[in-house]
């Protein structure tokens, strides 16, 4: 659609601008402010330049948290995206069963995140949780508060449980938009099931899948509440992801300077990756001529 040039449109955007500026720019300025100052309490601040940034860049703690964060996001994307697509492909196309699946699948998405944590905290406990009890009963040693591997497995399975449905629902929406004629033509062309997926379903899902990947990347990169409730970042620091580490630093230890510098770099990493996604997505949109 070719749009009319109209500078007055700014007035329509103004409320959003004011609101978001209030809740984004002012806090962000505070963060920037802290990141270049040092304090010895009593609200006295000293100019510290880029010292905090320098410190954080050489902080093993941050690099470790970043490493864990990247590993976590990569693992859950690698599981949730294919699994979500697979689930969507197997869903009923219409009728009562389709609604039934959709309702049940949406359920985890609307559970408060700390409750998600609580659910899995309970579910995984060896004494009172179904999962923990069962694993224990079949002789698998499982303790997510002590064991590194169990902690990671729990956090990952929890995220898969929590968010795969979002990917599945997006993929399903993409599949629903494919006209029947495509499947009929494929039958006539004697296309294999794989070819139907590769040349019809996947291209048609590409747009929504990009959205799914973007949302899942952003949200998993910002994850805080769920693992915090389940493992509290432990055992040791093994499930301390960026947000958990940041909150520990800022609210726990009140190291405002380093925490602020950390925040800014954290934010920039997300922005950078998201910008790449966004650019790819808009280009896809254009290519489709939407």
């Amino acid at each position: 659609m070719n749009k009319t040039v109209n500078q007055k449109a700014w007035f329509l955007v103004l409320p959003v601008l004011v609101l978001v500026a209030f809740s984004a720019i002012i806090p962000l300025m505070t963060v920037v402010n802290y990141s270049v100052q040092d304090s010895f309490g009593n609200n006295e601040f000293f100019w510290a330049g880029l010292e905090w940034f320098d410190e954080m860049l050489h902080s093993e703690r941050m690099w470790n948290a970043l490493g864990r964060q990247i590993a976590f996001s990569a693992i859950i994307l690698a599981i949730e995206i294919p699994l979500g697509i697979f689930v969507a492909l197997n869903m009923p196309k219409s009728g009562v069963w389709a609604s039934f699946c959709l309702v049940l699948m949406s359920l985890p998405l609307l559970i408060p995140w700390n409750v998600v944590g609580t659910i899995w905290q309970i579910f995984g406990r060896v004494d009172i949780g179904l999962l923990g009890y069962t694993l224990d009963a079949v002789g698998i040693e499982y303790n997510y508060t002590q064991d590194f591997f169990a902690a990671w497995a729990t956090v990952i399975v929890m995220d898969v449980w929590h968010w795969t449905s979002l990917v599945a629902l997006l993929a399903y929406a993409g599949l629903q938009s494919i006209p029947d004629a495509y499947y009929q033509a494929a039958k006539i062309d004697q296309a294999s099931r794989w070819a139907v997926f590769r040349y019809i379903e996947l291209p048609k899902m590409a747009g929504v899948l990009m959205i799914a990947i973007l949302l899942r990347f952003m949200d998993s990169f910002m994850i805080y509440t769920e693992p915090f409730v389940v493992t509290g970042g432990g055992p040791g620091n093994s499930t301390t992801f960026l947000s958990i580490d940041l909150v520990k630093m800022a609210l726990g230890q009140f190291d405002l300077g380093p925490a602020a510098a950390f925040s800014i770099m954290y934010y920039l990493v997300i922005l950078l990756v998201s910008w790449v996604f966004y650019t790819v997505m808009t280009n896809l949109d254009k290519r489709d001529g939407v």
Binding site: A181, Q184, I188, Q190, R287, D288
Partner: protein
């Protein structure tokens, strides 16, 4: 290539059809002769797409059988039937190039690469897309995409039949002519059995050797364009084909004379006394208007100049009568009588045509 036989075929979309009205396609027996080009013509919703999808195997009929060369394929999947179908809206594989799109049906059947390449080249020449063979199909115009769909339908030489489901709906008018001509050429050269679904009479009449006219889930007439024009088997055929359609006038029939609103009309044959609700059907081409003299009293209401000829709209006792004035012939001043050329008068009883005594059925 194959002869396609429809045996006792019917289809209903409801699970438990109770009355005949539940059937989208009413019972039907018909042979589609090997190598002929058929057009399946009818208004929207008359069941023509249903019939086509049953033939291609995308839909399982509620009853009856389909035979390809005497071989029962009623429950055979689409792929086994070895047919090609082109849909109303372009279906192309977006991420493939035009070349890959055209080669796809052959590749899936494991054809020899050299053969595929030559075949794709030939088809590309036919649809005029040699220049864009290596472009991605995504982003092409609807025209071009539909040409690719057509090409994919034609790329296999060994198909039992080629089915077209209103394939030119999205194509520009001037391209329609060209593509239709190419389809005819293709048919002449390779002799595929072709079934072409359309609601456009011009398309049907110019494309096909035989036109199958459907109305309300039923085949009402199968015939050459000339037969449909001169001897419509059902008043629907008369009114649906032709522009404007056939005039249908309530009449009493006695032997070789019909009486319309008190005026006698010569029928050009002996029809006896047919039972039921009788009507006369006269195409506007066979209506003559004159001032005074014999004929049905009419009032001329409007004259439309459509270029080659003029269409006169007239009124006779509340029934509309259309007449076409031959090229160059003027409308007589104060025209108030209509006469019918007996050669162009057909008799209908309860909507179906009655054959005069002595006419071969």
């Amino acid at each position: 290539m194959a002869k396609i036989t429809l045996d006792n075929l019917a289809h209903s979309y409801s699970d438990r059809p109770t009355s005949e009205d539940d059937y989208a396609l009413k019972e039907l027996n018909h042979d589609w002769a090997d190598g002929e080009a058929y057009a399946l013509l009818g208004a929207s919703g008359c069941g023509k797409s249903t019939l086509l999808n049953i033939i291609s195997g995308l839909l399982q009929p509620s009853q009856g059988r389909i035979l390809f060369d005497g071989h029962d394929v009623t429950h055979a999947p689409t792929a086994e039937r070895n047919i090609a179908q082109v849909f109303q809206f372009p279906v192309v594989y977006d991420t493939m190039t035009v070349r890959q799109n055209l080669a796809f049906p052959l590749r899936n059947r494991g054809a020899d690469p050299a053969y595929v390449a030559s075949r794709v080249q030939a088809i590309a020449a036919m649809i005029g897309m040699e220049g864009t063979l290596d472009r991605k199909a995504r982003g092409l115009t609807a025209d071009a995409k539909q040409k690719i769909s057509l090409g994919r339908g034609m790329v296999r030489e060994d198909v039992n039949a080629l089915l077209f489901d209103e394939p030119l709906t999205v194509i520009d008018p001037h391209m329609k002519w060209e593509l239709r001509t190419q389809l005819k050429t293709l048919h002449r050269d390779f002799g595929h059995t072709m079934i072409y679904v359309t609601h456009d009479q011009t398309e049907a009449l110019t494309f096909a050797d035989k036109v199958v006219v459907m109305y309300d889930g039923r085949v009402v007439q199968i015939g050459t364009p000339q037969q449909l024009f001169e001897r419509p088997a059902h008043t629907f055929v008369g009114y649906f084909i032709g522009s404007p359609g056939m005039n249908v006038l309530p009449a009493d029939i006695r032997g070789d004379t019909g009486t319309v609103g008190g005026s006698a009309v010569a029928l050009g044959g002996d029809y006896g006394t047919p039972a039921g609700n009788t009507e006369l059907g006269v195409r506007p081409e066979f209506v003559r208007l004159s001032a005074g003299g014999d004929g049905l009293p009419v009032t001329v209401t409007r004259v439309e100049d459509v270029g080659r000829h003029k269409i006169v709209r007239a009124d006779a006792h509340g029934t509309r009568i259309d007449a076409i004035l031959p090229e160059g012939a003027p409308l007589p001043a104060n025209a108030d009588r209509a006469t019918f050329d007996p050669r162009g008068v057909n008799v209908y009883a309860d909507k179906w045509r009655v054959a005069p005594v002595g006419e071969a059925a």
